[in-house]
Symmetry: C2
Subunit: 226 residues, 2 copies
């Protein structure tokens, strides 16, 4: 089985970390949807990360659908979603909020990264930033009201997605999403990111970290220009 | 239980049609994420459609997560996903492709609708259109190779999402997604859209249809300007 996509995508990384917990072995192929469009298209013509190629050749896409497949396949060593409806609802609510915040982060990054400055549109960034911060405020309330488990044996899909998402916002939008505004999420993510199944899927290698830092500085220049 | 969001969103509509099949009653509140941002924000501060408010007040978002909740709640009258892993994989593959095409359609529509013409960026629209058409070609192969069920007792989440997605592309991008290029999908969607649980959730009321037609004409003007 192959997982295609770069780990700086929170959608790719939540699948990778979850596969670790489920106990499924996979080969990770770090192919970029931007820098290697044609190479990616040979595997999945839609060029969407994450892409999973199952052993029988079936190609799956969309992280929540991919995880649904593995959650129910019946031969994993654990489940990452509670069975009881009310607990399941809370878990899915947190996953939904964290993914919504990822989507909004991606929209801001795409605006800055994929189009020339004269084509960037501030009202759109402003709208999306409002939504991003609203999602984080909702998540902070959830985490403070009822702490999430962050041990290797009891973490849920809510914990995985929230921690991966938080690291992503921090990496991409450190200045919009100030850690001190959301101490509950920050502390939870710090704990979760130290777990072996997270550590074995770092969001970036060193080279990518340098590129990201340069991008972040450019982003700051754009965001805080007057 | 309340379902919040307008039915011109394929994500809202796939939830509505699925709830009909599951046999869950819900009150639909047609609140727009664009025209009624503040009103929507009072229910879900992230302002994302679909939003579901469960009877105990829990607010869920993201259509695939919402559907996962209802699929497993245990008191629905049917399941919309196969149990056998290989069939489940195929179903989730089709859902993933259809949702990817919806995402790409939304990106094109947002580019045209939400920003002034001087802020629109053709290379982005071109990239996204390539991905949209690739997803539809993959879907056409799936439907032609192994027809989907389109009866009220055997339709799956793949059938629901594909039909709703197709109607959405047609409504929004009739000129990019020509029905005759994808006869397998077209014929399947036509059959599915005649089923009672689809008919009871029309994608638009008459007033919205008029607005959409005017928007489509404006879109054509943008797309085919030289």
């Amino acid at each position: 089985m192959h997982l295609i996509g770069t780990m700086d995508s929170p959608y790719v990384r939540r699948v990778a970390v979850s596969l670790n917990y489920y106990g499924y072995e996979f080969e990770h192929r770090s192919i970029s949807v931007f820098d290697e469009f044609a190479k990616f298209a040979k595997i999945n013509p839609v060029v969407k990360a994450p892409t999973i190629v199952l052993d029988d050749g079936t190609v799956l896409l969309e992280s929540s659908l991919i995880l649904d497949y593995f959650e129910k396949r019946g031969d994993s060593i654990c489940s990452l979603l509670p069975v009881v409806a009310s607990e399941r609802a809370r878990t899915l609510r947190i996953v939904g909020l964290a993914l919504a915040a990822c989507d909004k982060t991606v929209q801001i990054v795409y605006e800055r990264k994929l189009r020339p400055i004269e084509k960037q549109y501030e009202p759109w960034v402003s709208r999306v930033t409002t939504q991003l911060l609203a999602a984080l405020r909702e998540l902070e309330v959830e985490v403070v009201n009822q702490p999430l488990y962050s041990s290797d044996t009891s973490i849920s899909q809510a914990g995985i997605t929230l921690a991966v998402a938080w690291s992503f916002y921090q990496m991409m939008l450190g200045d919009i999403v100030a850690p001190n505004q959301f101490p509950g999420i920050r502390d939870f993510a710090l704990e979760a990111e130290a777990l072996p199944h997270f550590v074995s899927c770092p969001p970036m290698d060193n080279k990518e970290m340098e590129i990201a830092e340069r991008r972040r500085l450019r982003l700051d220049d754009c965001l805080f220009r007057c």
